[in-house]
């Protein structure tokens, strides 16, 4: 009798206006300042909070958010943000804001991180990994409130990636008023457990390890979401997520399996975004024979990237044409990946005087990373590829990860399979970290390649804020890498997501996980 009343095709009216997202894990905290794990960022960063500035989801350029505009002085050492005046914090059953966001909140949010004597600094353990990686404590000399809606950061040295860091997932703005309230009721730890932010959704309920319930923030400054609820259904098993998607219990699922099945399904869509990372095959340019660019170039012709893509990444990646993925604004489509050509490789090798081949070692990282899910298999494929041009490869992979990293930064390797995941979408994050002369000294440049022309290009790119000029510099730098081949970029891995077709809007981002703002259902 009851059952006859419920036709499964006829969606319930509540579910018509709500989205259930089946996520892969439980968040560690509700404050992205304190963590960098993807699961937590997905659940909190874009849903609950805003940053001073944010990234355009299409080309990852910087767009205004809490700061309606900003100004960087000519010497790059002073950055002033002008805040919007209409930004309201969440109204929940545990907090009712009495004022709109102002400079005090920004000051509070950053001082909590930077000032280790701040009342809130050690509330959740005192660890702010994103800011520690970006060396914010050294970079920021002082933060000054000019007036209620103007705030100025004084930097110790110019750094054009500063803005990208301010727009990073972790640089969210919290409510000072809420923090003060918590002090009076002696519940300071609640600040990261019962979150208050300015984002499109507000916190309603969290059942540990089971689900998170969000409601739309009625006074969201970009306009209230049309959804009635946003629920994160925490489903760690990938088969469980797939089942729930197919059975219509989830509208969107994270990291789906069985891509073909989803693609064939008429009501489901599989989407992917190329992550801001790169897996590469690097040479120690200080050690012979790799001090000879001809040898490096010869090898780059002999690597079958397509085969690696299918075997190691199971197709869940994109061939790397250059160091940076195509979702970066600095990507230059005219630069192509080196073709796969054994004769050309042989010819170059002969030119370099190694016509009979040689023996080399290849260090394969012993852990799994998104940018390289299986370095040992990749090493074996490369071994087979290079045997065709007479090079014998010994694979080194039996070190423990930290020892491996230490030995590689000390330059014990001849060649190495490694990778890099960007912290923020500024392209400099790839160039400076991986290939500059400075990083050859600090050890993050594992090729020890130090090219003055390249260094000048990336320096100039950092000194200007004009995107078009920077594009030109980076394009030249990419061409230089292709000529000199200090490393061979192999692949940019992709992040996948599946959704039911009735969910509309852009969800997936190259950096910063998912964003349900503006997502609708019909």
């Amino acid at each position: 009798m009851l059952l006859s009343a419920c036709d499964s095709n006829e969606a319930l009216s509540l579910s018509k206006k709500s989205i259930i997202y089946c996520s892969e894990g439980a968040p560690e905290s509700f404050n992205p300042q304190t963590v960098t794990s993807g699961t937590t960022i997905d659940a909190t960063a874009n849903q609950l909070y805003n940053r001073l500035i944010e990234f355009n989801p299409i080309d990852n350029s910087i767009i205004p958010a809490i700061a309606k505009s900003w100004h960087v002085t000519r010497d790059g050492k002073m950055v002033t943000f002008y805040l919007r005046k209409d930004i309201q914090f969440h109204q929940t059953n545990y907090f009712s804001p009495t004022r709109a966001l102002n400079a005090d909140d920004v000051l509070f949010s950053f001082n909590r991180i930077l000032d280790d004597t701040h009342l809130y600094h050690s509330v959740s353990g005192g660890k702010y990994p994103f800011f520690q990686n970006a060396q914010f404590v050294d970079l920021i000399d002082n933060i000054e409130k000019i007036n209620d809606h103007t705030i100025r950061f004084q930097l110790s040295h110019p750094d054009s990636s500063f803005l990208a860091n301010i727009g990073g997932n972790s640089s969210v703005i919290l409510s000072k008023e809420y923090a003060d309230n918590l002090i009076t009721i002696n519940a300071m730890q609640d600040i990261d457990i019962l979150p208050i932010g300015t984002g499109p959704f507000k916190f309603k309920q969290y059942s540990s390890g089971a689900f998170i319930r969000y409601e739309p923030h009625a006074k969201y400054w970009r306009g209230k979401s049309e959804l009635k609820q946003l629920v994160f259904d925490i489903t760690p098993r990938d088969t469980g997520r797939l089942t729930k998607l197919l059975a219509g219990e989830c509208d969107v699922i994270a990291y789906p399996i069985a891509h073909k099945k989803i693609q064939q399904h008429p009501n489901l869509t599989l989407e992917s975004v190329t992550s801001f990372n790169v897996g590469y095959f690097g040479f120690n340019t200080r050690k012979p024979p790799f001090n000879n660019p001809l040898v490096r170039k010869a090898i780059s012709f002999a690597i079958n990237k397509q085969a690696i893509l299918e075997a190691v990444y199971t197709g869940q990646a994109e061939i790397a044409n250059g160091l940076i993925p195509n979702s970066s604004w600095a990507y230059d489509a005219s630069i192509m990946s080196q073709e796969y050509s054994i004769p050309k490789a042989r010819e170059l090798l002969a030119q370099a005087g190694f016509g009979d081949g040689f023996v080399m070692d290849l260090w394969a990282m012993p852990v799994q990373r998104a940018y390289n899910p299986d370095a040992v298999t990749m090493a074996k494929l490369i071994q087979a590829d290079l045997l065709k041009i007479g090079i014998k490869v010994d694979i080194v992979s039996d070190y423990e990860w930290s020892t491996f990293l230490r030995k590689v930064s000390e330059g014990e390797h001849q060649s190495v399979l490694l990778g890099w995941s960007a912290d923020h979408p500024d392209p400099d994050n790839f160039f400076s970290t991986l290939l500059s002369c400075g990083s050859a000294i600090t050890g993050s440049n594992r090729t020890f390649w130090c090219n003055n022309e390249f260094d000048q290009l990336i320096q100039r790119a950092l000194q200007t804020n004009n995107i078009n000029k920077r594009k030109v510099y980076y394009s030249k730098a990419l061409k230089l890498i292709n000529e000199e081949v200090p490393l061979i970029p192999i692949a940019h891995s992709k992040r996948y997501q599946a959704r039911a077709n009735h969910v509309k809007g852009t969800l997936l981002r190259a950096i910063g996980g998912i964003d349900f703002n503006g997502v609708t259902k019909n």
């Binding site: 419920c6 499964s8 319930l12 309920q205 609820q229 469980g240 089942t243 059975a247 219990e249």
Partner: protein, 342 residues
């Protein structure tokens, strides 16, 4: 009746004694510190441990340690979960109702489907309906539960998309916890989506209930069939027949009542079986019940939870058992007589 009650009470006390001794000794048998296993205080400081050691009388002999454990148990203190750090009692109270709901609905379904089918088979003894029903009972009894559950999800959730595959209710509905029994809580709630929630919860119930109910239903078929055959063979039925009562009068007035009493007795016996099936089903259908929780605790080596879950689940089964015994005794005066050492 008094003697009957006393006998049952006696049995209860002794079983509980054995159960608690088993559970208490588990804390010694599990790896790790016994006190930590017993209390679940994994991150306790030395001072806290000293206080706990005092509370559980760790410095005295094993017998008083056991009695101290019993005292805590009677106060509902079963320690803390090693993984969630919540009191075991809270964890169990949050989950037991879901299991009760699933098993009781399944039991009702099994009874209302199985018993009439069994009677039907007996009435058409050695005819086509009888054979058909027996075939169904045999197949249903032989199918492994986990396989049936996965198959049900594959067909009804994934292929046909008719019914949900996981959970008790869609997460969209916020139902306030009152009794823990979802359907009752929905009816008590004042949500504007009450009826949608009720429908949704019912749809979530269908597959797991069918899976849990299948095996007991087939047992009820066989029990009801043999009970009915036995009754139909008695002299009073023959006499009634001779007196010229119609067939339906015989069945409804005389045979059914007497046959059903024989089946009721076995309902209690089936309950332990039902809980075991429900535990597996809860895992397959992500049903937030105590069975799934207990199995997860085993995976996560949550020793405190295993001990607490064991005690609660077995005493629950035992209590149900005794209750059905009383119902049976109330219905059937013959059972109250002291027979051979009940």
């Amino acid at each position: 009746m008094l003697i009957f009650t006393l006998r049952r009470f006696n049995l209860f006390v002794f079983t509980m004694l054995l159960l608690t001794i088993l559970s208490f000794s588990l804390s010694f048998l599990f790896p790790g510190d016994q006190l930590v296993n017993l209390t679940g205080q994994v991150n306790a400081s030395p001072e806290q441990l000293a206080i706990l050691s005092d509370k559980y009388q760790q410095n005295t002999n094993i017998v008083s340690q056991y009695f101290s454990y019993l005292t805590h148990l009677f106060h509902g203190e079963m320690g803390y979960s090693m993984t969630s750090h919540l009191p075991i009692a809270t964890e169990i109270l949050n989950r037991l109702p879901a299991t009760i709901e699933l098993t009781s609905v399944a039991l009702l379904v099994a009874m209302f489907v199985g018993i009439p089918m069994g009677f039907c088979a007996a009435i058409y003894h050695r005819k086509v309906p009888d054979n058909l029903i027996l075939t169904f009972a045999m197949i249903g009894y032989s199918i492994p539960i986990f396989w049936l559950g996965i198959l049900a999800i594959l067909v009804f959730s994934i292929q046909l998309g008719w019914l949900p595959s996981a959970g008790q209710i869609s997460l969209l509905f916020e139902i306030e916890y009152v009794t823990g029994l979802q359907l009752i809580d929905i009816l008590l709630s004042d949500s504007e989506y009450k009826w949608q929630a009720f429908q949704d919860a019912t749809r979530h119930l269908i597959l797991p209930v069918i899976v849990v109910a299948l095996a007991p239903a087939t047992i009820f078929v066989r029990l009801a069939r043999s009970a009915m055959l036995e009754v139909l063979d008695t002299h009073y039925i023959k006499a009634a027949n001779a007196k010229g009562l119609t067939f339906s009068q015989i069945i409804y007035r005389h045979a059914m009542r007497n046959a059903i009493i024989k089946v009721i007795r076995d309902v209690g016996l089936q309950f332990a079986n039902l809980i075991t099936i429900a535990m597996v089903t809860e895992v397959i259908f992500s049903w937030p019940g105590i069975g799934r929780w207990l199995i997860e605790s085993i995976y996560q080596r949550d020793y405190t939870a295993i001990q607490g879950g064991l005690i609660v689940l077995s005493s629950f089964i035992f209590i149900v058992h005794i209750v059905t015994d009383f119902v049976y005794a109330a219905l059937n005066p013959l059972a109250r007589e002291p027979q051979h050492g009940a």
